[in-house]
Protein backbone atom coordinates (compact mmCIF):
# COMPACT_ATOMS: atom_id res chain seq x y z
CA UNK A 1 0.00 0.00 0.00
CA UNK A 2 2.79 2.44 0.91
CA UNK A 3 4.58 1.56 -2.32
CA UNK A 4 1.35 2.16 -4.29
CA UNK A 5 0.87 5.57 -2.67
CA UNK A 6 4.48 6.50 -3.36
CA UNK A 7 4.11 5.47 -7.00
CA UNK A 8 0.88 7.47 -7.28
CA UNK A 9 2.63 10.55 -5.90
CA UNK A 10 5.48 9.97 -8.33
CA UNK A 11 3.35 9.67 -11.48
CA UNK A 12 0.54 12.06 -10.55
CA UNK A 13 2.40 14.78 -8.65
CA UNK A 14 6.18 14.75 -9.05
CA UNK A 15 6.49 13.82 -12.72
CA UNK A 16 3.77 16.18 -13.99
CA UNK A 17 5.33 18.98 -11.94
CA UNK A 18 8.75 18.37 -13.47
CA UNK A 19 7.18 18.19 -16.95
CA UNK A 20 5.41 21.50 -16.22
CA UNK A 21 8.76 23.19 -15.64
CA UNK A 22 9.40 23.02 -19.39
CA UNK A 23 6.43 25.14 -20.62
CA UNK A 24 6.74 27.31 -17.48
CA UNK A 25 10.19 28.30 -18.73
CA UNK A 26 8.47 30.16 -21.55
CA UNK A 27 6.37 32.41 -19.33
CA UNK A 28 7.24 35.43 -17.25
CA UNK A 29 9.22 34.45 -14.12
CA UNK A 30 6.95 36.70 -12.07
CA UNK A 31 3.95 34.54 -13.02
CA UNK A 32 5.53 31.21 -12.11
CA UNK A 33 4.00 29.48 -9.13
CA UNK A 34 3.97 25.89 -7.93
CA UNK A 35 0.26 25.52 -8.77
CA UNK A 36 0.77 27.00 -12.24
CA UNK A 37 3.70 24.70 -13.02
CA UNK A 38 1.67 21.70 -11.85
CA UNK A 39 -1.34 22.67 -13.99
CA UNK A 40 0.96 23.11 -16.99
CA UNK A 41 2.55 19.75 -16.26
CA UNK A 42 -0.74 17.88 -15.99
CA UNK A 43 -2.01 19.39 -19.23
CA UNK A 44 1.18 18.58 -21.14
CA UNK A 45 1.47 15.08 -19.64
CA UNK A 46 -2.13 14.17 -20.49
CA UNK A 47 -1.77 15.60 -24.00
CA UNK A 48 1.40 13.57 -24.56
CA UNK A 49 -0.45 10.49 -23.38
CA UNK A 50 -3.16 11.15 -25.96
CA UNK A 51 -0.57 11.67 -28.73
CA UNK A 52 1.05 8.34 -27.89
CA UNK A 53 -2.10 6.37 -27.16
CA UNK A 54 -4.28 7.01 -30.20
CA UNK A 55 -1.87 5.73 -32.87
CA UNK A 56 -1.07 2.67 -30.73
CA UNK A 57 -4.77 1.98 -30.06
CA UNK A 58 -5.50 2.11 -33.78
CA UNK A 59 -2.54 0.02 -34.92
CA UNK A 60 -1.84 -2.40 -32.11
CA UNK A 61 -4.78 -3.91 -30.27
CA UNK A 62 -2.58 -5.32 -27.52
CA UNK A 63 -0.31 -2.30 -27.25
CA UNK A 64 -1.07 -1.13 -23.73
CA UNK A 65 2.44 -1.93 -22.52
CA UNK A 66 3.91 -0.05 -25.46
CA UNK A 67 1.88 3.03 -24.50
CA UNK A 68 3.15 2.84 -20.92
CA UNK A 69 6.76 2.42 -22.02
CA UNK A 70 6.67 5.29 -24.52
CA UNK A 71 4.84 7.57 -22.11
CA UNK A 72 7.26 6.93 -19.27
CA UNK A 73 10.27 7.50 -21.54
CA UNK A 74 8.94 10.78 -22.95
CA UNK A 75 7.67 12.22 -19.67
CA UNK A 76 10.86 11.03 -17.98
CA UNK A 77 13.00 12.89 -20.51
CA UNK A 78 10.81 16.00 -20.22
CA UNK A 79 11.09 15.86 -16.43
CA UNK A 80 14.87 15.84 -16.69
CA UNK A 81 14.73 18.73 -19.17
CA UNK A 82 12.45 20.64 -16.78
CA UNK A 83 14.82 20.15 -13.87
CA UNK A 84 17.75 21.17 -16.07
CA UNK A 85 15.97 24.39 -17.08
CA UNK A 86 15.38 25.23 -13.43
CA UNK A 87 19.05 24.57 -12.71
CA UNK A 88 20.03 26.95 -15.51
CA UNK A 89 17.77 29.68 -14.11
CA UNK A 90 19.03 29.15 -10.58
CA UNK A 91 22.59 29.54 -11.82
CA UNK A 92 21.62 32.65 -13.79
CA UNK A 93 19.31 34.46 -11.35
CA UNK A 94 19.78 32.61 -8.08
CA UNK A 95 16.10 31.53 -8.12
CA UNK A 96 13.72 30.09 -10.76
CA UNK A 97 10.95 32.49 -9.77
CA UNK A 98 10.69 36.22 -9.27
CA UNK A 99 8.64 37.18 -6.24
CA UNK A 100 7.96 40.76 -7.30
CA UNK A 101 4.43 39.88 -8.43
CA UNK A 102 2.00 42.38 -6.94
CA UNK A 103 -0.03 39.56 -5.39
CA UNK A 104 2.90 38.10 -3.46
CA UNK A 105 2.89 40.57 -0.56
CA UNK A 106 2.16 39.10 2.92
CA UNK A 107 -1.42 38.02 3.58
CA UNK A 108 -3.60 39.73 6.17
CA UNK A 109 -5.02 37.74 9.11
CA UNK A 110 -8.52 37.88 7.63
CA UNK A 111 -7.23 36.61 4.31
CA UNK A 112 -5.40 33.75 6.00
CA UNK A 113 -8.62 32.72 7.78
CA UNK A 114 -10.50 32.67 4.47
CA UNK A 115 -7.78 30.53 2.91
CA UNK A 116 -7.92 28.10 5.83
CA UNK A 117 -11.70 27.87 5.44
CA UNK A 118 -11.35 27.24 1.72
CA UNK A 119 -8.68 24.54 2.13
CA UNK A 120 -10.78 22.84 4.81
CA UNK A 121 -13.77 22.87 2.46
CA UNK A 122 -11.73 21.29 -0.33
CA UNK A 123 -10.50 18.59 2.04
CA UNK A 124 -14.13 17.89 3.02
CA UNK A 125 -15.08 17.74 -0.65
CA UNK A 126 -12.32 15.25 -1.40
CA UNK A 127 -13.28 13.11 1.59
CA UNK A 128 -16.90 13.16 0.45
CA UNK A 129 -15.86 12.05 -3.02
CA UNK A 130 -14.08 9.11 -1.38
CA UNK A 131 -16.84 8.12 1.01
CA UNK A 132 -19.87 8.79 -1.16
CA UNK A 133 -20.78 6.89 -4.30
CA UNK A 134 -22.88 8.03 -7.19
CA UNK A 135 -24.54 5.70 -9.66
CA UNK A 136 -23.78 6.61 -13.24
CA UNK A 137 -24.69 4.27 -16.08
CA UNK A 138 -21.76 5.39 -18.23
CA UNK A 139 -19.37 3.81 -15.73
CA UNK A 140 -20.42 0.48 -17.22
CA UNK A 141 -18.47 1.59 -20.27
CA UNK A 142 -15.64 3.90 -19.18
CA UNK A 143 -14.63 2.32 -15.88
CA UNK A 144 -14.86 -1.18 -17.35
CA UNK A 145 -12.80 -0.09 -20.36
CA UNK A 146 -10.02 0.98 -17.96
CA UNK A 147 -10.26 -2.30 -16.08
CA UNK A 148 -10.26 -4.32 -19.29
CA UNK A 149 -7.20 -2.49 -20.58
CA UNK A 150 -5.34 -3.11 -17.35
CA UNK A 151 -6.43 -6.73 -16.95
CA UNK A 152 -6.07 -7.86 -20.57
CA UNK A 153 -3.56 -5.42 -22.11
CA UNK A 154 -6.02 -4.97 -24.99
CA UNK A 155 -7.21 -1.62 -26.29
CA UNK A 156 -10.87 -1.22 -27.23
CA UNK A 157 -11.13 -4.73 -28.77
CA UNK A 158 -13.46 -6.18 -26.12
CA UNK A 159 -16.97 -4.97 -25.48
CA UNK A 160 -17.01 -3.53 -21.95
CA UNK A 161 -20.68 -4.31 -21.37
CA UNK A 162 -20.42 -8.05 -21.97
CA UNK A 163 -16.83 -9.15 -22.57
CA UNK A 164 -17.39 -10.29 -26.13
CA UNK A 165 -14.70 -9.56 -28.69
CA UNK A 166 -15.55 -6.71 -31.01
CA UNK A 167 -14.10 -4.56 -33.76
CA UNK A 168 -12.32 -1.43 -32.58
CA UNK A 169 -14.75 1.23 -31.45
CA UNK A 170 -12.79 4.08 -32.99
CA UNK A 171 -15.09 6.85 -31.84
CA UNK A 172 -14.45 5.98 -28.21
CA UNK A 173 -10.90 4.83 -28.86
CA UNK A 174 -9.83 8.30 -29.97
CA UNK A 175 -10.52 9.64 -26.50
CA UNK A 176 -7.92 7.80 -24.44
CA UNK A 177 -8.87 8.89 -20.91
CA UNK A 178 -9.84 5.33 -19.80
CA UNK A 179 -6.43 4.09 -20.98
CA UNK A 180 -4.72 6.79 -18.89
CA UNK A 181 -6.64 5.56 -15.85
CA UNK A 182 -5.55 2.01 -16.70
CA UNK A 183 -1.96 3.29 -16.83
CA UNK A 184 -2.27 4.73 -13.30
CA UNK A 185 -3.74 1.43 -12.14
CA UNK A 186 -0.97 -0.60 -13.77
CA UNK A 187 1.87 1.48 -12.34
CA UNK A 188 0.39 1.74 -8.84
CA UNK A 189 -0.99 -1.80 -8.69
CA UNK A 190 -4.38 -0.46 -7.58
CA UNK A 191 -7.61 -1.82 -9.08
CA UNK A 192 -8.71 0.39 -12.01
CA UNK A 193 -12.17 0.96 -10.52
CA UNK A 194 -10.63 2.25 -7.30
CA UNK A 195 -8.36 4.50 -9.34
CA UNK A 196 -11.39 5.86 -11.22
CA UNK A 197 -13.66 6.38 -8.24
CA UNK A 198 -11.15 7.47 -5.61
CA UNK A 199 -7.68 8.33 -6.94
CA UNK A 200 -8.80 10.43 -9.92
CA UNK A 201 -11.08 12.75 -7.85
CA UNK A 202 -8.28 13.19 -5.29
CA UNK A 203 -6.08 14.50 -8.11
CA UNK A 204 -8.62 16.26 -10.30
CA UNK A 205 -10.51 18.28 -7.68
CA UNK A 206 -7.39 20.11 -6.45
CA UNK A 207 -6.34 20.53 -10.08
CA UNK A 208 -9.70 22.16 -10.83
CA UNK A 209 -9.24 24.63 -7.98
CA UNK A 210 -5.69 25.34 -9.07
CA UNK A 211 -7.06 26.45 -12.45
CA UNK A 212 -9.73 28.59 -10.76
CA UNK A 213 -6.95 30.00 -8.62
CA UNK A 214 -4.99 31.02 -11.73
CA UNK A 215 -8.13 32.73 -13.06
CA UNK A 216 -8.72 34.38 -9.69
CA UNK A 217 -5.19 35.75 -9.57
CA UNK A 218 -5.84 37.56 -12.83
CA UNK A 219 -9.33 38.73 -11.88
CA UNK A 220 -8.31 39.94 -8.41
CA UNK A 221 -4.82 41.22 -9.06
CA UNK A 222 -5.77 44.51 -7.40
CA UNK A 223 -7.98 43.07 -4.64
CA UNK A 224 -6.05 40.07 -3.45
CA UNK A 225 -8.03 39.57 -0.25
CA UNK A 226 -11.07 38.67 -2.33
CA UNK A 227 -9.33 35.72 -3.96
CA UNK A 228 -10.08 33.20 -1.15
CA UNK A 229 -13.68 34.47 -1.04
CA UNK A 230 -13.93 33.87 -4.78
CA UNK A 231 -12.58 30.34 -4.27
CA UNK A 232 -15.14 29.67 -1.51
CA UNK A 233 -17.96 30.78 -3.83
CA UNK A 234 -16.63 28.45 -6.52
CA UNK A 235 -16.56 25.59 -4.01
CA UNK A 236 -20.19 26.23 -3.03
CA UNK A 237 -21.29 26.22 -6.65
CA UNK A 238 -19.63 22.85 -7.19
CA UNK A 239 -21.12 21.33 -4.06
CA UNK A 240 -24.56 22.77 -4.79
CA UNK A 241 -24.40 22.70 -8.57
CA UNK A 242 -26.40 19.52 -8.94
CA UNK A 243 -29.46 21.41 -10.19
CA UNK A 244 -29.71 18.89 -13.03
CA UNK A 245 -27.73 15.94 -14.35
CA UNK A 246 -26.34 18.08 -17.18
CA UNK A 247 -24.40 20.84 -15.44
CA UNK A 248 -20.63 20.91 -15.49
CA UNK A 249 -20.62 20.85 -11.67
CA UNK A 250 -22.71 17.67 -11.61
CA UNK A 251 -20.37 16.06 -14.11
CA UNK A 252 -17.32 17.08 -12.09
CA UNK A 253 -18.65 15.81 -8.80
CA UNK A 254 -20.40 12.63 -9.90
CA UNK A 255 -18.27 11.34 -12.76
CA UNK A 256 -14.90 13.03 -12.33
CA UNK A 257 -13.10 10.10 -13.96
CA UNK A 258 -14.99 10.37 -17.24
CA UNK A 259 -13.48 12.46 -20.02
CA UNK A 260 -16.68 14.45 -20.41
CA UNK A 261 -16.38 15.75 -16.85
CA UNK A 262 -12.78 16.79 -17.44
CA UNK A 263 -13.76 18.53 -20.65
CA UNK A 264 -16.65 20.43 -19.07
CA UNK A 265 -14.54 21.63 -16.19
CA UNK A 266 -10.79 21.39 -16.53
CA UNK A 267 -10.39 21.88 -20.28
CA UNK A 268 -12.93 24.64 -20.91
CA UNK A 269 -11.84 26.46 -17.77
CA UNK A 270 -8.22 26.24 -18.85
CA UNK A 271 -9.16 27.81 -22.18
CA UNK A 272 -10.85 30.71 -20.36
CA UNK A 273 -7.88 31.08 -18.02
CA UNK A 274 -5.41 31.21 -20.90
CA UNK A 275 -7.54 33.76 -22.71
CA UNK A 276 -7.46 35.86 -19.55
CA UNK A 277 -3.73 35.27 -19.05
CA UNK A 278 -2.82 36.16 -22.64
CA UNK A 279 -4.32 39.61 -22.24
CA UNK A 280 -2.89 40.09 -18.79
CA UNK A 281 0.47 39.26 -20.33
CA UNK A 282 -0.25 41.76 -23.08
CA UNK A 283 -0.37 44.46 -20.45
CA UNK A 284 2.90 43.30 -19.03
CA UNK A 285 5.53 41.68 -21.20
CA UNK A 286 4.48 40.63 -24.69
CA UNK A 287 7.29 38.16 -25.33
CA UNK A 288 6.05 35.92 -22.53
CA UNK A 289 2.88 34.92 -24.36
CA UNK A 290 4.51 31.94 -26.06
CA UNK A 291 4.23 29.72 -22.98
CA UNK A 292 0.47 30.28 -22.85
CA UNK A 293 0.04 29.53 -26.55
CA UNK A 294 2.02 26.30 -26.05
CA UNK A 295 -0.27 25.33 -23.18
CA UNK A 296 -3.35 26.21 -25.23
CA UNK A 297 -2.09 23.92 -27.99
CA UNK A 298 -1.67 21.06 -25.51
CA UNK A 299 -5.05 21.86 -23.92
CA UNK A 300 -6.62 21.29 -27.31
CA UNK A 301 -5.00 17.87 -27.53
CA UNK A 302 -6.28 17.18 -24.02
CA UNK A 303 -9.77 18.14 -25.20
CA UNK A 304 -9.62 15.35 -27.76
CA UNK A 305 -8.45 12.95 -25.06
CA UNK A 306 -11.53 13.77 -23.01
CA UNK A 307 -14.21 13.34 -25.63
CA UNK A 308 -13.80 13.07 -29.37
CA UNK A 309 -17.17 14.61 -30.19
CA UNK A 310 -16.54 17.55 -27.92
CA UNK A 311 -13.54 18.86 -29.84
CA UNK A 312 -16.15 21.01 -31.61
CA UNK A 313 -17.00 22.69 -28.32
CA UNK A 314 -13.46 23.83 -27.62
CA UNK A 315 -12.96 24.89 -31.22
CA UNK A 316 -16.17 26.90 -31.03
CA UNK A 317 -15.15 28.62 -27.80
CA UNK A 318 -11.72 29.51 -29.15
CA UNK A 319 -13.05 30.51 -32.57
CA UNK A 320 -15.72 32.74 -31.12
CA UNK A 321 -13.37 34.30 -28.58
CA UNK A 322 -10.78 34.87 -31.28
CA UNK A 323 -13.28 36.65 -33.53
CA UNK A 324 -14.64 38.80 -30.69
CA UNK A 325 -11.19 39.73 -29.43
CA UNK A 326 -9.87 40.27 -32.94
CA UNK A 327 -12.70 42.65 -33.82
CA UNK A 328 -12.62 44.49 -30.50
CA UNK A 329 -8.88 44.99 -30.62
CA UNK A 330 -8.74 45.40 -34.41
CA UNK A 331 -6.04 42.74 -34.56
CA UNK A 332 -6.35 39.88 -37.03
CA UNK A 333 -3.40 38.12 -35.38
CA UNK A 334 -5.45 37.15 -32.33
CA UNK A 335 -7.93 34.85 -34.14
CA UNK A 336 -5.13 33.54 -36.37
CA UNK A 337 -2.91 32.59 -33.45
CA UNK A 338 -5.81 30.99 -31.62
CA UNK A 339 -6.70 29.14 -34.80
CA UNK A 340 -3.19 27.70 -35.01
CA UNK A 341 -3.54 26.28 -31.52
CA UNK A 342 -6.72 24.58 -32.74
CA UNK A 343 -4.81 22.38 -35.22
CA UNK A 344 -5.16 19.25 -33.05
CA UNK A 345 -8.90 19.87 -32.80
CA UNK A 346 -9.17 20.17 -36.57
CA UNK A 347 -7.33 16.86 -37.04
CA UNK A 348 -9.40 14.99 -34.46
CA UNK A 349 -12.59 16.64 -35.72
CA UNK A 350 -11.85 15.56 -39.29
CA UNK A 351 -11.13 12.02 -38.10
CA UNK A 352 -14.37 12.03 -36.12
CA UNK A 353 -16.42 13.14 -39.14
CA UNK A 354 -14.70 10.74 -41.53
CA UNK A 355 -15.22 7.85 -39.15
Amino acid sequence: MIVSIFLLILILVIMPFCVGLVPAYFIDRRKRRISLVYVFGMIVSLAIFQLIAVPVIINKGDGFRLIITLFLIITGVLSVVGIALVAIEVRKYGTPINRTDEISVPKTKEEKIYWIIFIALVVIQILLSCFMQYFDGDDAYYVVESLLTNETDTLYRIKPYTGLSTGMDLRHAMASMPVWIAYIARISGIHSTIVSHIVVPIVMLPLLYMIYYQCGRILFRKERKKLPIFMIFVWIMYMFGNVSIYTNATFMMTRTWQGKAMLANLVLLTVIWILLALFETERLVKEWRLGYYIILFFTNILAAMCSTASVFLVAMLLGLSGIVLGIAKKNIQIPLKLMITCTPLAIYGAMFILI
Partner: protein
Protein backbone atom coordinates in the same frame (compact mmCIF):
# COMPACT_ATOMS: atom_id res chain seq x y z
CA UNK B 1 -37.44 26.10 -30.70
CA UNK B 2 -39.56 24.17 -28.21
CA UNK B 3 -36.93 21.46 -28.09
CA UNK B 4 -34.20 24.03 -27.39
CA UNK B 5 -36.26 25.56 -24.60
CA UNK B 6 -36.81 22.10 -23.14
CA UNK B 7 -33.05 21.43 -23.20
CA UNK B 8 -32.42 24.79 -21.55
CA UNK B 9 -35.02 24.10 -18.86
CA UNK B 10 -33.66 20.61 -18.25
CA UNK B 11 -30.14 21.98 -17.92
CA UNK B 12 -31.15 24.57 -15.37
CA UNK B 13 -33.26 22.03 -13.53
CA UNK B 14 -34.28 22.86 -10.01
CA UNK B 15 -31.85 25.66 -9.31
CA UNK B 16 -31.44 29.34 -9.95
CA UNK B 17 -27.79 29.45 -11.02
CA UNK B 18 -28.89 30.32 -14.53
CA UNK B 19 -30.70 33.42 -13.25
CA UNK B 20 -27.72 34.34 -11.11
CA UNK B 21 -25.49 33.96 -14.15
CA UNK B 22 -27.70 36.23 -16.26
CA UNK B 23 -27.72 38.77 -13.44
CA UNK B 24 -23.94 38.48 -13.09
CA UNK B 25 -23.33 39.01 -16.81
CA UNK B 26 -25.67 42.00 -16.84
CA UNK B 27 -23.96 43.45 -13.78
CA UNK B 28 -20.51 43.02 -15.30
CA UNK B 29 -21.66 44.64 -18.57
CA UNK B 30 -22.22 47.83 -16.58
CA UNK B 31 -19.55 47.81 -13.90
CA UNK B 32 -16.56 45.95 -15.35
CA UNK B 33 -13.99 48.52 -16.34
CA UNK B 34 -11.43 46.13 -17.78
CA UNK B 35 -12.24 45.81 -21.47
CA UNK B 36 -10.49 42.44 -21.88
CA UNK B 37 -12.33 40.88 -18.99
CA UNK B 38 -15.61 42.24 -20.28
CA UNK B 39 -15.03 40.67 -23.68
CA UNK B 40 -14.21 37.25 -22.26
CA UNK B 41 -16.65 37.14 -19.36
CA UNK B 42 -19.62 39.07 -20.84
CA UNK B 43 -19.53 39.36 -24.61
CA UNK B 44 -18.47 35.81 -25.53
CA UNK B 45 -20.94 34.10 -23.11
CA UNK B 46 -23.75 36.37 -24.35
CA UNK B 47 -23.05 35.39 -27.97
CA UNK B 48 -22.97 31.71 -26.97
CA UNK B 49 -26.27 32.12 -25.17
CA UNK B 50 -27.82 33.73 -28.26
CA UNK B 51 -26.41 31.05 -30.57
CA UNK B 52 -27.83 28.38 -28.29
CA UNK B 53 -31.37 29.53 -29.02
CA UNK B 54 -30.97 29.67 -32.80
CA UNK B 55 -32.72 26.64 -34.34
CA UNK B 56 -30.28 26.38 -37.29
CA UNK B 57 -27.40 26.25 -34.87
CA UNK B 58 -29.19 23.48 -32.98
CA UNK B 59 -29.73 21.54 -36.20
CA UNK B 60 -26.09 22.00 -37.20
CA UNK B 61 -24.85 20.76 -33.83
CA UNK B 62 -27.17 17.78 -33.92
CA UNK B 63 -25.80 16.72 -37.26
CA UNK B 64 -22.39 16.41 -35.57
CA UNK B 65 -23.37 14.95 -32.22
CA UNK B 66 -26.98 14.23 -31.50
CA UNK B 67 -28.42 14.39 -28.00
CA UNK B 68 -25.68 16.43 -26.34
CA UNK B 69 -26.79 19.96 -27.24
CA UNK B 70 -26.85 20.95 -23.58
CA UNK B 71 -23.04 20.87 -23.70
CA UNK B 72 -23.07 24.18 -25.57
CA UNK B 73 -24.04 25.69 -22.21
CA UNK B 74 -20.78 24.37 -20.75
CA UNK B 75 -19.00 26.99 -22.86
CA UNK B 76 -20.38 29.74 -20.63
CA UNK B 77 -18.17 29.98 -17.54
CA UNK B 78 -21.15 30.25 -15.17
CA UNK B 79 -19.28 29.44 -11.97
CA UNK B 80 -16.42 31.80 -12.74
CA UNK B 81 -18.67 34.70 -13.75
CA UNK B 82 -21.08 34.32 -10.82
CA UNK B 83 -18.25 34.06 -8.28
CA UNK B 84 -16.41 37.03 -9.81
CA UNK B 85 -19.51 39.23 -9.99
CA UNK B 86 -20.45 38.28 -6.42
CA UNK B 87 -17.01 39.33 -5.18
CA UNK B 88 -17.42 42.64 -6.94
CA UNK B 89 -20.93 43.16 -5.54
CA UNK B 90 -19.88 42.66 -1.93
CA UNK B 91 -17.30 45.42 -2.25
CA UNK B 92 -15.36 45.93 0.93
CA UNK B 93 -18.01 44.21 3.11
CA UNK B 94 -16.20 40.92 2.81
CA UNK B 95 -17.43 39.19 5.99
CA UNK B 96 -21.09 40.02 5.58
CA UNK B 97 -20.83 39.57 1.82
CA UNK B 98 -19.31 36.14 2.17
CA UNK B 99 -22.11 35.00 4.46
CA UNK B 100 -24.96 36.51 2.44
CA UNK B 101 -23.70 35.37 -0.97
CA UNK B 102 -22.93 31.90 0.40
CA UNK B 103 -26.51 31.60 1.66
CA UNK B 104 -27.88 32.75 -1.70
CA UNK B 105 -25.69 30.26 -3.58
CA UNK B 106 -26.63 27.39 -1.28
CA UNK B 107 -30.35 28.18 -1.56
CA UNK B 108 -30.12 28.59 -5.33
CA UNK B 109 -28.55 25.19 -5.88
CA UNK B 110 -28.96 21.55 -4.99
CA UNK B 111 -26.56 19.55 -2.81
CA UNK B 112 -24.52 17.30 -5.04
CA UNK B 113 -25.14 14.17 -2.99
CA UNK B 114 -28.89 14.53 -2.88
CA UNK B 115 -31.10 12.34 -5.03
CA UNK B 116 -31.54 8.63 -5.44
CA UNK B 117 -28.30 8.05 -7.32
CA UNK B 118 -26.09 9.17 -4.44
CA UNK B 119 -25.40 7.01 -1.41
CA UNK B 120 -22.70 6.25 1.09
CA UNK B 121 -19.94 4.19 -0.50
CA UNK B 122 -20.21 0.57 0.56
CA UNK B 123 -16.63 -0.27 -0.40
CA UNK B 124 -13.54 1.14 -2.10
CA UNK B 125 -14.84 0.17 -5.53
CA UNK B 126 -17.95 2.36 -5.08
CA UNK B 127 -20.20 -0.47 -6.22
CA UNK B 128 -22.77 -2.33 -4.07
CA UNK B 129 -21.33 -4.85 -1.60
CA UNK B 130 -23.68 -7.53 -2.84
CA UNK B 131 -22.21 -7.31 -6.34
CA UNK B 132 -18.76 -7.93 -4.86
CA UNK B 133 -20.15 -10.79 -2.79
CA UNK B 134 -21.77 -12.51 -5.77
CA UNK B 135 -18.76 -11.93 -8.04
CA UNK B 136 -16.42 -13.40 -5.42
CA UNK B 137 -18.60 -16.54 -5.36
CA UNK B 138 -18.46 -17.13 -9.09
CA UNK B 139 -15.33 -15.52 -10.49
CA UNK B 140 -12.73 -18.01 -11.74
CA UNK B 141 -9.63 -18.74 -9.73
CA UNK B 142 -6.38 -17.07 -10.80
CA UNK B 143 -5.22 -18.51 -14.11
CA UNK B 144 -8.54 -20.22 -14.88
CA UNK B 145 -10.73 -19.41 -17.87
CA UNK B 146 -13.39 -16.71 -17.68
CA UNK B 147 -16.93 -17.64 -16.73
CA UNK B 148 -20.25 -16.56 -18.17
CA UNK B 149 -23.12 -15.52 -15.96
CA UNK B 150 -26.51 -13.90 -16.44
CA UNK B 151 -27.38 -11.20 -13.95
CA UNK B 152 -30.57 -9.37 -13.05
CA UNK B 153 -30.91 -5.83 -14.39
CA UNK B 154 -30.09 -4.28 -11.01
CA UNK B 155 -26.54 -5.73 -11.15
CA UNK B 156 -25.44 -5.49 -14.75
CA UNK B 157 -23.90 -2.02 -14.52
CA UNK B 158 -21.57 -3.07 -11.75
CA UNK B 159 -20.37 -6.64 -12.34
CA UNK B 160 -17.64 -5.89 -14.83
CA UNK B 161 -16.49 -2.83 -12.89
CA UNK B 162 -15.39 -5.32 -10.27
CA UNK B 163 -13.94 -8.03 -12.49
CA UNK B 164 -13.76 -8.59 -16.22
CA UNK B 165 -13.25 -12.32 -15.69
CA UNK B 166 -17.02 -12.61 -15.59
CA UNK B 167 -18.68 -12.21 -18.97
CA UNK B 168 -22.34 -11.54 -19.53
CA UNK B 169 -24.77 -12.47 -22.30
CA UNK B 170 -26.32 -9.01 -22.17
CA UNK B 171 -25.21 -5.70 -20.74
CA UNK B 172 -26.09 -2.09 -20.31
CA UNK B 173 -26.64 -1.55 -24.04
CA UNK B 174 -29.71 -3.79 -23.84
CA UNK B 175 -31.19 -1.46 -21.25
CA UNK B 176 -31.22 1.67 -23.32
CA UNK B 177 -33.87 1.81 -26.04
CA UNK B 178 -32.50 3.06 -29.33
CA UNK B 179 -28.94 1.96 -28.63
CA UNK B 180 -27.24 -0.40 -31.00
CA UNK B 181 -27.61 -3.91 -29.56
CA UNK B 182 -28.72 -7.39 -30.47
CA UNK B 183 -32.04 -8.46 -28.93
CA UNK B 184 -31.43 -11.01 -26.25
CA UNK B 185 -34.19 -13.47 -25.24
CA UNK B 186 -32.46 -14.10 -21.91
CA UNK B 187 -32.67 -10.38 -21.12
CA UNK B 188 -36.36 -10.41 -22.07
CA UNK B 189 -36.93 -13.24 -19.58
CA UNK B 190 -35.40 -11.20 -16.78
CA UNK B 191 -37.94 -8.46 -17.50
CA UNK B 192 -40.92 -10.74 -16.93
CA UNK B 193 -42.90 -10.76 -13.68
CA UNK B 194 -42.91 -14.55 -13.61
CA UNK B 195 -39.90 -16.27 -15.14
CA UNK B 196 -40.40 -19.69 -16.64
CA UNK B 197 -37.66 -21.93 -15.19
CA UNK B 198 -37.40 -24.12 -18.27
CA UNK B 199 -37.03 -21.12 -20.62
CA UNK B 200 -34.50 -19.49 -18.27
CA UNK B 201 -32.21 -22.52 -18.04
CA UNK B 202 -32.53 -23.23 -21.78
CA UNK B 203 -31.64 -19.69 -22.77
CA UNK B 204 -28.85 -19.49 -20.19
CA UNK B 205 -27.43 -22.72 -21.60
CA UNK B 206 -27.73 -21.40 -25.14
CA UNK B 207 -25.60 -18.40 -24.07
CA UNK B 208 -23.08 -20.69 -22.28
CA UNK B 209 -23.90 -19.24 -18.87
CA UNK B 210 -22.14 -21.18 -16.12
CA UNK B 211 -24.12 -19.24 -13.54
CA UNK B 212 -27.59 -17.74 -13.27
CA UNK B 213 -28.14 -14.96 -10.75
CA UNK B 214 -31.68 -14.09 -9.70
CA UNK B 215 -33.22 -11.54 -7.38
CA UNK B 216 -34.97 -13.15 -4.43
CA UNK B 217 -38.08 -11.16 -5.29
CA UNK B 218 -38.29 -12.67 -8.77
CA UNK B 219 -40.96 -15.33 -9.11
CA UNK B 220 -39.88 -18.54 -10.83
CA UNK B 221 -42.39 -20.82 -12.45
CA UNK B 222 -40.92 -24.30 -11.98
CA UNK B 223 -37.84 -25.73 -10.35
CA UNK B 224 -34.41 -24.63 -11.49
CA UNK B 225 -32.75 -27.47 -9.55
CA UNK B 226 -34.76 -30.06 -11.47
CA UNK B 227 -33.35 -28.55 -14.68
CA UNK B 228 -29.74 -28.79 -13.57
CA UNK B 229 -29.28 -25.34 -12.04
CA UNK B 230 -28.16 -25.84 -8.46
CA UNK B 231 -28.29 -23.16 -5.79
CA UNK B 232 -24.67 -22.56 -4.76
CA UNK B 233 -25.01 -19.38 -2.78
CA UNK B 234 -27.22 -16.59 -1.57
CA UNK B 235 -26.78 -13.02 -0.49
CA UNK B 236 -29.29 -10.73 1.15
CA UNK B 237 -31.17 -10.10 -2.10
CA UNK B 238 -29.85 -12.60 -4.64
CA UNK B 239 -29.71 -16.32 -5.42
CA UNK B 240 -26.69 -17.75 -7.22
CA UNK B 241 -27.29 -20.86 -9.31
CA UNK B 242 -24.65 -23.03 -11.00
CA UNK B 243 -25.93 -24.13 -14.38
CA UNK B 244 -24.49 -27.65 -14.62
CA UNK B 245 -25.56 -27.94 -18.24
CA UNK B 246 -22.67 -25.66 -19.16
CA UNK B 247 -19.25 -26.97 -18.15
CA UNK B 248 -16.46 -24.54 -17.39
CA UNK B 249 -14.59 -23.74 -20.56
CA UNK B 250 -11.16 -24.96 -19.38
CA UNK B 251 -12.64 -28.14 -17.85
CA UNK B 252 -14.31 -28.89 -21.19
CA UNK B 253 -11.06 -28.26 -23.08
CA UNK B 254 -9.10 -30.48 -20.68
CA UNK B 255 -11.68 -33.30 -21.10
CA UNK B 256 -11.48 -33.01 -24.89
CA UNK B 257 -7.68 -33.17 -24.73
CA UNK B 258 -7.80 -36.29 -22.54
CA UNK B 259 -10.21 -38.00 -24.97
Amino acid sequence: MTEILEIFKSYNGTGYYCLLFLAAVLYLWFVEEDRHLKLILCVVPTIIQVLFFIPYFYMGYNSLDEGTYYRILWLMPMTLVIAYAACKVIGSYTKAGLIIVSIILVLSGTWVYSGINASRAENVYHIPDEVVEVCDMIKPAEGKERVWASFPISMIHYVRQYTTTIQMPFGRDNLVPGWDHIDNPLYDLYLQDVINADALVSEATKYYCNYIILEKTQTIDGSLEALGANLVGTTQNYYVYRNTRVPFWDVETETETEN
